[in-house]
Structures are given as structure tokens and as C-alpha cells.
Symmetry: C2
Subunit: 404 residues, 2 copies
């Protein structure tokens, strides 16, 4: 028998420029199914919103009026969370509470929008609800700027971050070429274990102002080789532009810049690798500058990729359709059919296959010397930044959706 | 008798998003005066280009084809320089060399596009050429993101930097509100002695995600008061967003973050004030993050203000017209007629009046407590960020002008 009931949608983990675009896709699609779906709720701060019974009813007139701004809104419009569910064998309290709230609100379609860790959470909830014989179709909705989810060709969020990074590096590179005697500019880019974001700086080369060198977590980092690389470039052109992933590690696998603190999932918190690399030149007379793209990489919605936004919306719509068609414990993935011309299809995989698996850059996209990426990477990444999702400005002020 | 000859245009000092828009205005206007102006040259790296006789002839077909991209190009398209001319009484060598090159290329209209220091250089050249009885009309063309030139209501470059800053802070603020328990985010903004740029973060409040506190070089900085301010906000809302000018000083006038190095003009080089302020909370358990907007403030042309670009072009055009009308030793300024509705006029002032004078934020735009700006500042700055100068992208790659 076909399930009838309410939708619950939650956001989890670090925001991306397009997580709200997937929310938009799910909500808009849900509103088309009046016979199956009575109400659409959003968790206020993901799992925490369920546990605290803090749910946002999207069907109010005020909230509905905000929908069209969602694909132009950075952050997590409904609030995000980093909450790791305990192993159910150790402590089932939170699971029981989730079941209680799902029953109370008649939640029959649950969507959790996040990265690797959130897919793990989503999988745990799906398995628990099944074991409790509570009928609810659970779908994981992928998002991460890091592009490190397995199986899917790429993740919603990556294209927009890549577009911000490649455009900003183009602008920095253009600015840096103003003086005859330039600097060594070292730009730090997010990415804990996978270098997709740092690699995307390569696309700036197509503007004429790309990085000379790119250092990735996938390649063991040598201080000596790095200094040699930079000095060689500087000697040739009086300036050097370096892109470096925050997650570069030495040959023993230790992070070059380890702040010593851990997040809720036990991941090491990174920071300051560009400043550290700059300090390696303090004995020389070379002028240096460390630039961290920081939060802007995931929040600069005004510079997002239209294709990324469109795909994020489509992933949302297909997640909704999958759930009401009776699919459970799945995640929508993107499969690439071809790069020139760009063609993709959408498929489904079991959540258990994506939870806690990280996808790194394959070695055939990295140059032999380990200090750059090659044409194969450009062919992969370039289609993902196509098109502009023009931001909405009123009198010069950017406009975002706000929900109550 | 009306002067007939060639134009020379040079760029100097730190680039802005719109310095190339002024170049565009001058060059386009010059091309309309075929009878008066035979050739348009641009200095390759400002004064250095003159001394080295390294001039770019803009009239070549390849270069002309690049003109329309100029207002969309960051950096200094013809190369900039930081070169301080010596006092002519001490050493006239460089002045003599400039005269020699001007004579050789029959330069009769000279434009120097820069900030305070460059207007000083421009003034020196104007006075020298007069004293040498070489007929050449010299016009200073204002640009600086710092908005610290006197007399003019604002400087071309400020509006675009203000737009980048206010938009980025909006996006950072929106992202930072994703979690229930947020951080103390401290955003470092350029501005050595004048806080116009840091103050412009205030405009982000109109998006709903502005800074809670703003610290300016105009107000003596107290560490204790700062910690107290932040803790008060954090206690109320579980997060705090701070905008701070790189140039904040203690009550004795010493920079809070002084790297100990000087630039060619003897200015102290700043850096890392946000990291320093973050370190003040290291003893607490509060989560903090330092964000430096860095070079993007002046190079993020993709987010420039249309009004700023239009005014920069207009200032360029009027500079050209002033020179061919026989004016010499002048700079075009912008005079505000009203803010609501926004109305301005363009006037001319003597270069000697603007050289080496810095304009800071008047105290009636700063709140009594000294940790924010008020409505009067908003009324002043808001009209300057109006309109979008949509960047040119091809297949997701931003496009810039390139000259040979």
C-alpha cells in the first residue's frame, strides 16, 4: 500500500552554496503531491530539531513566500548540526525519541541532506525505523563542497565552491600580476583528505591567471621539494602563485598544519597551513603573502555555478520522487555519461555503500611531480562550473530566504 | 594655442576593482579626439614604465579589441608600481628622464591614476614640467579602495570594495548562523588609518546578517573593552560576528598588529590582527575563527558596484576632457548633492590640495561606544554599492582584458 503522510527534511554538516537548492527541490516537489503529502516540515538544526521537537512548518504563508529565494541563499536555511548518533547497541535513547516524534508528526518521508557523516546518520535512522517496523521512506540527499562522496561522479556543492575558488584565484592572480616584482602568494583552500577543492584552482589557468603550483592531500608533502618548486618558478617569472589544500600531509601521514583539536566526529581541525608555508621563506628576502579563502568557499552563493544549483534542485526533486515511490535507505547519485558534451544521469544507491567512505583524486589526474593536476582533471571539473546563478540584489544588498 | 599631441596614462599603487574602468574612460574619450590626440600610450608599471621607456601603444588592433573587457578586469591592466619620486632639490635625475621620454613621444596629456601617494607623484611631475616650460597638461585620476582621499565625497574603487565586503559579510553571517551554538567570527578588513572599508561591513546588516561589532582605526582600541563587548553579545545570541580594520591602534597610537616592516612610502605593513584578536579568547572555551578578506577586497571585480564602475569611467572621461581643455595640475572630485535620491556633480581641485592628506571617518558616523557605525554612515555608503557590474564568463571561466 502506498504510504501517505508528512515530509520531514533536515540539513546536517557544513553548509554549501547549494544545500538550500536541494531543500528547494524537495519542498517544491512535495507541494505537487497533495494527495500523498499533507505537510512539509523542516528540522531546525537537523537531528537536534527532531530530538527537541523543534520543527518548522513550511506550509505557512510567510514561509512559502520565501521559497524562491532558497536557491540564492547560502548557509543552511533551516539550521544545521554536527550530531553523531550513538551506536544503537550502546544507547537507543535518541533513536526511540526520533521514533516518538516521527509518530507524533506522522512523518512517512524523511530526507537528510549532508555529507559522508550525515549519510551514516541517515543510514542508522533508516535501519532503526525498519527494525521498529515504522513505515517511513528515508532518503539521503548528498551535499558537500569537498566532493568526497563515493560512487557519485560529483556532489552538489562542489561545482559552486570550485567556481568561487577558480574565479577568486583568477582575480587574485590578475591583481598579483600588477607589479613588476611580485610576491609569492600562497592560497589556502579547504579539503581535509581529498584535494578536489584545491585542484579546482587549476581552472583559473583558463583565465590566464591560474596557480603555478598546487599541493594536495593525495600527495605526501615535502618541505624541501616545495621550497625548491617555488624558488624555481619565482626565478623565472618574478612571482609565484601557489594553491594548497589545508589537508596536506607529510610522508608519515601527519597533517602539516594540525591545530590539535577535534570536531564532534573526531576529525582533526585544520588551519593556518598557508601561514606556515609562508614562514618557510622568512629567511629569504622574498615577499610573501598567505591568503585563506576560508568560509567564503562554501558561503559565496552569489558566485555559485548555475549547473550545480540546477543539479542540486534536481537531486532534491528525485529524492522526493524516490521516497513516495516506496524507495527506502537510498541516496541519489550523479553518473557522468560524457564530458564533451556534458551529459549525466541520476541513479540510486544504498546508503550503506556511501556512509563513511571518502573519495580522493585519482592519481591519473595528478602530474608526475605531484605539484599540479592535469588536463584530465580540467576535463572533469570544467563542466561543473558552467553558468551563473545570478544573486538577487535590492539596492546593492544581497537577499536571502528567511524562515520562521 | 590648443595643445596637440599624444596621451600617456599610468597606474600606480594598489589596484582596485575599478582602476581599469577609469583607464577605459580616458582611452575611449581620447579616441574621440582624433584631431588633438594622435596616439594613446599606457605606462607599463606606472612611473617605472616611463623611466624604462616601456610604453604600451593602445592603438594596435589587438589592444583595441580588449577595451570593452577593461571595466570587468581587476588588477592594474597596464601594470602598477610603488615608486616614490625623490625631492627634486635632492635629485632631479628621474625628472629629467621623464621629460626626455615625454619629449620623445610628444606626450602632451598625462594622466596618473592612483591614491594619495600617487597624487603626490603626479603633482611633482606637473610642477616640474611647468618649471621646465614643457607644455603638458597633467591630471591626477583618483582611485583607492580606502576612500581616504580628501575633498572628494568618495573615491572610485571604494564602492566596489564596500560591495564585496558587505556581500561577503552577509554570506559569512548567514553561513555562521547555521549552527545553534555558533562561533566568534572575526573578519579582518583592509584600511591602514581610515576605517571606511571596515565600516562598510555595516551594510550587511540590511541583509539581516551584519556584524555585531565594528572596530575602526578612528577609535583607540582597548583589549579589555573588546573582550567585554564580544562576551556580552555571545551571551545573548550564542554567536558573535566582528568586523575589524587591520589598522586599529591602541590609545598611544600604536598599531595593534604591527609586522615591523615598511613599504616603499615608509608606511607600516599590517597583517594578522584578526588572528591576534582570536588569540585573546584562547583561554576560554569559546569557538573562534579569524577570516581575512585579504586581496579579494580589491580584486573581486565580479562583485563590483555598477555605480562605482560608471563613476570611475566618468571620472576618466572628465579627466581627459579637462586635459584637452587646457587644465593642468588638477584632479577630478565627486561632490555629493544629495543621498536620497542619490545625486552628484563632478568638480576639479588642485592636486596640491589632495597630495598626502588622509580623510578619516567623521566622529558623527561612529556610535558613542566606539564599536560600530550609525545610520548616518549607512546613508552615506549605501548608494555607493548600487547595481551589479555583471562579470563576463565563458563556460564558467571569468574573462579579463590583456594588453601587449
Amino acid at each position: 500500500m502506498k504510504l501517505v503522510g508528512n515530509v520531514l527534511y533536515g540539513q546536517s554538516g557544513g553548509p554549501t552554496s547549494v544545500i538550500n537548492a536541494s531543500a528547494y527541490g524537495i519542498i517544491k516537489q512535495a507541494l505537487l503531491h497533495e494527495e500523498t503529502i499533507k505537510k512539509v516540515y523542516c528540522c531546525h538544526h537537523g537531528i537536534d530539531g527532531i530530538l527537541k521537537e523543534d520543527l518548522i512548518d513550511i506550509s505557512s504563508k510567510d514561509n512559502l513566500s520565501q521559497l524562491e529565494l532558497l536557491p540564492h541563499t547560502p548557509g543552511a536555511a533551516f539550521g544545521s548540526v554536527r550530531h553523531k548518533l550513538k551506536d544503537i547497541k550502546e544507547d537507543a535513547t535518541e533513536y526511540q525519541r526520533i521514533l516518538e516524534v516521527f509518530k507524533k508528526y506522522n512523518i512517512r518521508f524523511f530526507f537528510y541532506n549532508g555529507g559522508i557523516d550525515s549519510m551514516d546518520t541517515c543510514n542508522k535512522i533508516s535501519l532503526f525505523l525498519k527494525s521498529a517496523s515504522y513505515e517511513c521512506n528515508v532518503i539521503g540527499v548528498p551535499k558537500t563542497i569537498d566532493n568526497d562522496l563515493p560512487i557519485t561522479d560529483h556532489t552538489p556543492g562542489f561545482g559552486s565552491a570550485a567556481k568561487f575558488i577558480s574565479t577568486s584565484i583568477s582575480e587574485i592572480g590578475c591583481d598579483a600580476s600588477a607589479y613588476d616584482q611580485g610576491r609569492i602568494n600562497i592560497v589556502e583552500i579547504m579539503g581535509r583528505n581529498a584535494g578536489w577543492l584545491a585542484a579546482s584552482s587549476k581552472l583559473a589557468c583558463l583565465s590566464g591567471y591560474g596557480p603555478d603550483l598546487i599541493y594536495l592531500p593525495e600527495v605526501p608533502f615535502s618541505k624541501e621539494k616545495f621550497i625548491e618548486d617555488v624558488k624555481k618558478i619565482y626565478a623565472k617569472q618574478n612571482r609565484c602563485l601557489v594553491a594548497v589544500s589545508e589537508g596536506i600531509k607529510n610522508k608519515d601521514g601527519n597533517y602539516i598544519s594540525d591545530t590539535g583539536t577535534l570536531d564532534a566526529f573526531g576529525h582533526k581541525q585544520m588551519g593556518g597551513v598557508a601561514s606556515y608555508l609562508v614562514s618557510l621563506f622568512s629567511e629569504t628576502k622574498l615577499k610573501t603573502r598567505a591568503i585563506e579563502l576560508s568560509l567564503l568557499q562554501r558561503s559565496a552563493n552569489h558566485l555559485s555555478s548555475k549547473r550545480d544549483i540546477d543539479e542540486a534542485i534536481e537531486v532534491g526533486k528525485r529524492s522526493l520522487e524516490a521516497a513516495i515511490s516506496g524507495h527506502n535507505g537510498k541516496m541519489i547519485i550523479i553518473k557522468r555519461i560524457s564530458s564533451k558534451p556534458y551529459g549525466i544521469s541520476y541513479e540510486e544507491v544504498d546508503l550503506s555503500l556511501v556512509a563513511n567512505v571518502e573519495k580522493i583524486i585519482p592519481s591519473d589526474m595528478i602530474v608526475k611531480e605531484g605539484n599540479n593536476v592535469n588536463q584530465k582533471f580540467i576535463d572533469y571539473a570544467l563542466p561543473l562550473i558552467k553558468g551563473e546563478n545570478n544573486a538577487v540584489f535590492i539596492d546593492g544588498i544581497i537577499q536571502f530566504a528567511k524562515f520562521k
